[in-house]
């Protein structure tokens, strides 16, 4: 039974990990839409420029990594794990500063925190599942001499 499962992995993509990571990406989009909708002058500074740039690179890299983990590339699951941790840290940088400067409301801050936290959970779980699957597949292929 276990062998059939592993054998199936040789021909099927890691859809679960892929969908979890895409979910994390989608929640990040909700996050920055909520963050940037404020008209406060706080958002007309260089740190917001860096944040926008980070978001663009984040989306590009997470999407490409999702495509890679779909095909059981283990190294990308490690990268996604690190990005997932970084999502948690992001709650305490721009959003928290914005809250202190009264640029965003309490309600919006809660939403932003939830989006980022959920995004982190999805990215980290996707990364862990991908890591487990790709390691199992690698060992299985090695046992078959491939």
């Amino acid at each position: 039974m276990e062998n059939i499962k592993l054998d199936k992995m040789c021909y099927k993509r890691d859809k679960l990990a892929y969908l979890l990571v895409l979910g994390g990406l989608a929640l990040n989009v909700f996050y920055f839409f909520t963050l940037y909708k404020s008209n406060s002058t706080f958002f007309f500074k260089y740190n917001v420029g860096i944040s926008i740039l980070y978001n663009l690179l984040f989306m590009l890299f997470v999407f490409l990594s999702a495509e890679e983990i779909k095909n059981y590339h283990r190294n990308f699951s490690i990268v996604l794990f690190v990005i997932g941790i970084a999502q948690v840290a992001r709650i305490f940088i721009l959003p928290l500063n914005g809250l202190h400067q009264e640029a965003i409301t309490n309600k919006n801050f809660i939403f932003i925190a939830i989006y980022l936290a959920l995004s982190a959970v999805l990215l980290i779980s996707g990364a862990i599942i991908s890591f487990i699957h790709s390691t199992k597949l690698k060992n299985y292929k090695a046992s078959k001499g491939e």
């Binding site: 039974m1 059939i4 499962k5 054998d7 199936k8 040789c10 021909y11 099927k12």
Partner: protein, 360 residues
């Protein structure tokens, strides 16, 4: 696997265009039946009626004793393989093969086992992760066949599956199909316009023309005992030579090109046709380089182990196939004759073969 009965099937399209007339056929369990005929003869329409892709205007279709005439295609438990493969370009070979069972929401372990077994049979195990565009024509057709195999249907339908392949690949795929049939012992209905495919693959051939079944029989029956002029001309490559001849009272067949003394058996066969014109048919391979008929060589086609010699018996064009390498030059005169027991005669009016049964 199962049996199939087609009873008086008719297909009439809009504006009263009839494509198939009173088609009757019994297909036994595990039989390989080939529908053969020229383009537009109704063979693909018949196949599509069996598949449920075309409505049956009248008649009955019975699969395994159950009337499926009005049943939708998905419930008929039939798998069809198309000429253009009909593979999903965005899916891998594995996903293409698993697709029908995935749609049925079958257990994924079972699907995997079936896909791997089919891939093993078809030699596709190393191609399972590839997309169709990365495969050769033959491999794509094997994927299409694999997709049909894993469904384990009651009947397989093949609609000119080898027509898109080059000659060499077609030959090897033909052999593979034969082996596959032996392995699966499947009931197969196969449509082709290529009579070589029909002769090599079939347990039973259905020869069609203009929507009518002309003859049903084994390949040998159709080749050696064609029922009419159409079957005689269609089956066999190069096709049979036909000559209008008159039967004389002294037991000869006479035409402007030659006179030929008929054997006692042939005289008895043609006793009702004395003084009448019949069509004499002789296959190129049944003409021998020995006889009384003058033959002027026009072209030699050396095929290696045999030679096709095109030429004229007086004014009548004939093709002969001699089992040796011939080095005749244009306008060389040779003598030819016919193998007695391989001579065919057809009624000029009805185009039916003149046989002993015909005389009784």
């Amino acid at each position: 696997m199962s049996s199939l009965n087609l009873i008086n099937l008719n297909k009439i399209y809009d504006h009263n265009v009839q494509a198939v007339y009173d088609f009757n056929l019994d297909v036994n369990d595990g039989e390989f039946v080939v529908l053969v005929g020229p383009s537009g003869c109704g063979k693909s329409t018949t196949l599509r009626m069996i598949a449920g892709l075309e409505d049956i205007t009248s008649g009955q279709l019975i699969i395994d004793g159950k009337d499926v005439t009005k049943m939708p295609p998905k419930d008929r438990d039939i798998a069809m393989v198309f000429q253009n493969y009909a593979l999903y370009a965005h899916m891998t070979v594995y996903e293409n093969m698993a697709f029908s069972l995935t749609l049925r929401k079958e257990n994924s372990d079972l699907i995997h086992t079936k896909v791997m077994a089919a891939a093993e049979i078809l030699g596709l195990t190393n191609q399972l992760n590839k997309k169709p565009k990365q495969l050769s024509g033959g491999q794509r057709q094997r994927v299409a066949i694999g997709r049909a195999i894993i469904r384990n249907p009651k009947v397989f339908l093949f609609d000119e599956p080898l027509s898109n392949l080059d000659a060499k690949l077609r030959n090897s795929m033909r052999r593979e199909l034969l082996l596959l049939h032996k392995k699966l012992n499947a009931t197969i209905i196969y449509v082709t316009h290529d009579q070589t495919e029909a002769l090599t693959l079939a347990d039973k051939i259905v020869c069609m023309s203009m929507g009518y079944v002309q003859q049903v029989g084994t390949p040998l029956e159709l080749y050696e005992h064609p029922k009419n002029l159409f079957v005689a001309g269609f089956i066999g490559l190069p096709s049979m030579n036909f000559i209008d001849v008159q039967i004389t009272e002294d037991g000869k067949m006479v035409c402007p090109s030659f006179e030929y003394q008929l054997s006692a058996d042939h005289q008895r066969l043609l006793k009702d046709y004395v003084g009448k014109t019949v069509v004499f048919g002789i296959r190129p391979e049944d003409i021998v380089e020995d006889g009384d008929i003058d033959f002027k060589v026009k072209i030699n086609e050396n095929l290696g182990q045999s030679t096709l010699v095109h030429g004229l018996a007086k004014e009548k064009k004939l093709v002969c196939k001699f089992k040796r390498w011939c080095a005749y030059k244009q306008n060389d005169m040779i003598k030819i004759g016919f193998v007695e027991e391989k001579m065919h005669f057809f009624d000029k009016e009805t185009t039916n073969a003149i046989t002993e049964a015909h005389n009784e």
